[in-house]
Symmetry: C2
Amino acid sequence: MSDVLEKTEETEGDAFDDLYGLTKETVAAVEAALEEGAGPETIRPLVVPLHAADLADLLERLTKDERLSVVHALGEELDSDVFAYLDDTVQETITDALPNSVLSTFVQDLDSDDVVDFLEDMDEEDQKEILSFVPAEDRALYEQALSYPEYTAGRLMRRETVTIPEFWTVGQTIDFMRDSDGEGGSDLPDDFYNIIVVSPNHKPVGLVQLSKLLRTKRIVPVSAIMETDPKLIPVDLDQEDAAFLFRQYGLVEAPVIDESGRLVGVLTIDDIVDVMDEEHEDDMLKLGGVSEDDFYSDFLKTTRLRFSWLLVNLGTAIVASLVIALFETALSKVVALAVLMPIVASMGGNAGTQTLTVAVRALATNELTTRNALRILTKEVLVGSANGILFAIIMGIVAWLWFSDPVLGGVIATAMILNLMIAGLSGVLIPLAIEKIGQDPAIASTVFLTTITDVVGFFVFLGLASVVLM
Amino acid sequence: MSDVLEKTEETEGDAFDDLYGLTKETVAAVEAALEEGAGPETIRPLVVPLHAADLADLLERLTKDERLSVVHALGEELDSDVFAYLDDTVQETITDALPNSVLSTFVQDLDSDDVVDFLEDMDEEDQKEILSFVPAEDRALYEQALSYPEYTAGRLMRRETVTIPEFWTVGQTIDFMRDSDGEGGSDLPDDFYNIIVVSPNHKPVGLVQLSKLLRTKRIVPVSAIMETDPKLIPVDLDQEDAAFLFRQYGLVEAPVIDESGRLVGVLTIDDIVDVMDEEHEDDMLKLGGVSEDDFYSDFLKTTRLRFSWLLVNLGTAIVASLVIALFETALSKVVALAVLMPIVASMGGNAGTQTLTVAVRALATNELTTRNALRILTKEVLVGSANGILFAIIMGIVAWLWFSDPVLGGVIATAMILNLMIAGLSGVLIPLAIEKIGQDPAIASTVFLTTITDVVGFFVFLGLASVVLM
């Protein structure tokens, strides 16, 4: 019953185990209870103490039926925040099984940014029905948030803001915050790090760090301690660009403004961390030929998602085979060519993938631009040529000794150099070109690259052999 | 002179352009000035207004010589913070060119966590000499920080903390903070989000959010509003585990403790964001066969770094060729086998890479454990078999029609199913096994996988053909 975490824990003296709230004992106990068909009174005390993020992890690790048993066991004690942490596919299996009236009670407990995240993947009818149970003023808020395009700052932002006028002093600000925290309806968010100073028409003019506010005498005007040129995020800014700005400038919170410059919400680092995570996952999966994260998808959906990419690959593999078919005569005469040809293609593919990976990453971090592209291209072609020469020598000698044929060694050596040069060139040019036409370079680069390195590898090796050896 | 950013900007109505401080006009102006050999008086006004993060980006995009010209032009006006943002390789080109006495002035301006980052990549002699210029008490601090192992919380933490005793009230806390901010030597960090409540022996007992402190009446004791069970990070915790905890629990700051439980520093989200970035970069590059980010490395170093991975790949490619060589007789009789065999191997490699990518990602996020491994394994083998059958049908028909040989179609169909099944199996088992022996599954998984799919692909296809077609 050991698990992968356990290994890490052992080598690290259990430090991590103590901190990660979902211990393997808890998982094992819940699973055992579910297997025995235990009732809510057994399951509830096991899961109620968990942090929402840990409960989400637990639910993700269970099968669909077990998951629903836990949800039903919890009933109204299910912490709404768990939905802020759940994988979308897993969340769907739960929301599909619960009536909209129940789902609407979760909505009323969540922060405005988490509500949007909760609702956005449902179909419009369910969204409407769930919102119909929500008080009218909140409903309008959520509907407006959902009206912003997906993957923009508008979708991601928290709508509750903490604002003060420019002419206030530190003392007035602190008094205002103390008063806001009365019973019955404070509009202040749970936690925040800056106070936004706004003009009379609600445009942000500055940010006051709480840590600065606390260190300042009561009589000082906030305008004296505010940061006067804060980064203001347009509501329609792409979330990846917002994440770039947070990372670039070490932001923790940033005001979001509409077209007229008025404050409409706040982006916070926790949402940005999620975006960064998604973005990285996306790049990595796409490079691996996986269109979306299908870890929690069922067998049929996963098969369908993977099929289309494999179909594209079959097409390119057939193209490479057509190139091989051009040299049937040579192949039938010298069988060593069939033995050696995959080596040339494979080395080109691997060298190209190295270059491609670095280039795709550099594009994602705005480090590769057409301005420095020529320099990078030159370098990669040089690297390809240098490794090409090294592997030409190694493989030339291997082929010579293996088939006792120095000319064959010369042929594979030449093909190796050429293919690794082309691989370096393509590894930079392909992602640059795809980015240029406005597409994501991670998704299609690999298939173009391996097509090129296969075709060039087979063509040069077999073509040269036909000329020299026949 | 257009660059990649420009494209994005156009489609997004220049919103991003206004926010990213390093405009292409600035880059162009600096480059033009450098080309003309302009003096410091021309360059300085162009770069002084830049945010340290943007200046770092600018320096990264220039050639080594241009970079040094800008640094020399800035002289003492060079913002030390720029080193907190520079790529390590680029930083080295600058620090190598400056005397240690100058470098020590930068050290004295930086936050303690950035100092460690600045020094850790230098050799010990340079570290010692630079620190010899630093006041003794700071020196001891940095030396201790450098004594923690790399990639641990101890290396990453800020050493300045904001602490108060448990018996204080909100009012006392605010007064203390106001007093600390006098002239001549406040020890408070620039910005912070929580105050740490400590016991008399300096063990953290709670955290007070600043936003909560500000909302609370002066007479309330801090013990009434503090979070009493904060996540405490052990000083030797791996930075990746720390990042996991920040992400899992939405932390912005966390106290760091030594073995005896005493507070020694604070981890902040900006450093964690950098760790997440590094971690993701690492996974992505390793899957692509790149051992470390070599975007800014010179031609020779890049060639050397890439060579070893390609050498491993050559080994596996030769193994695959040895398998092919087993079937020389069949290949010399039926040349269609040579034409078709790369298709079987390539489809296996691609299907396996899909599974592998999802599995490596799921391991990195602690979602794949040996507990659910069997379920995932079953699913992946099913997905492989299903897609195997689909592509067996497609490719069987293609081969039959192409070479007018239904038996050949049957052979490739059978080989396809088997290879895609094995690919699904290996795609999960290989990374799990590598993780189990305590290694990073991203680094070596790909090479093992393609070896297996090549060997199985060639062996099954050619072996079956030898039996059936000869």
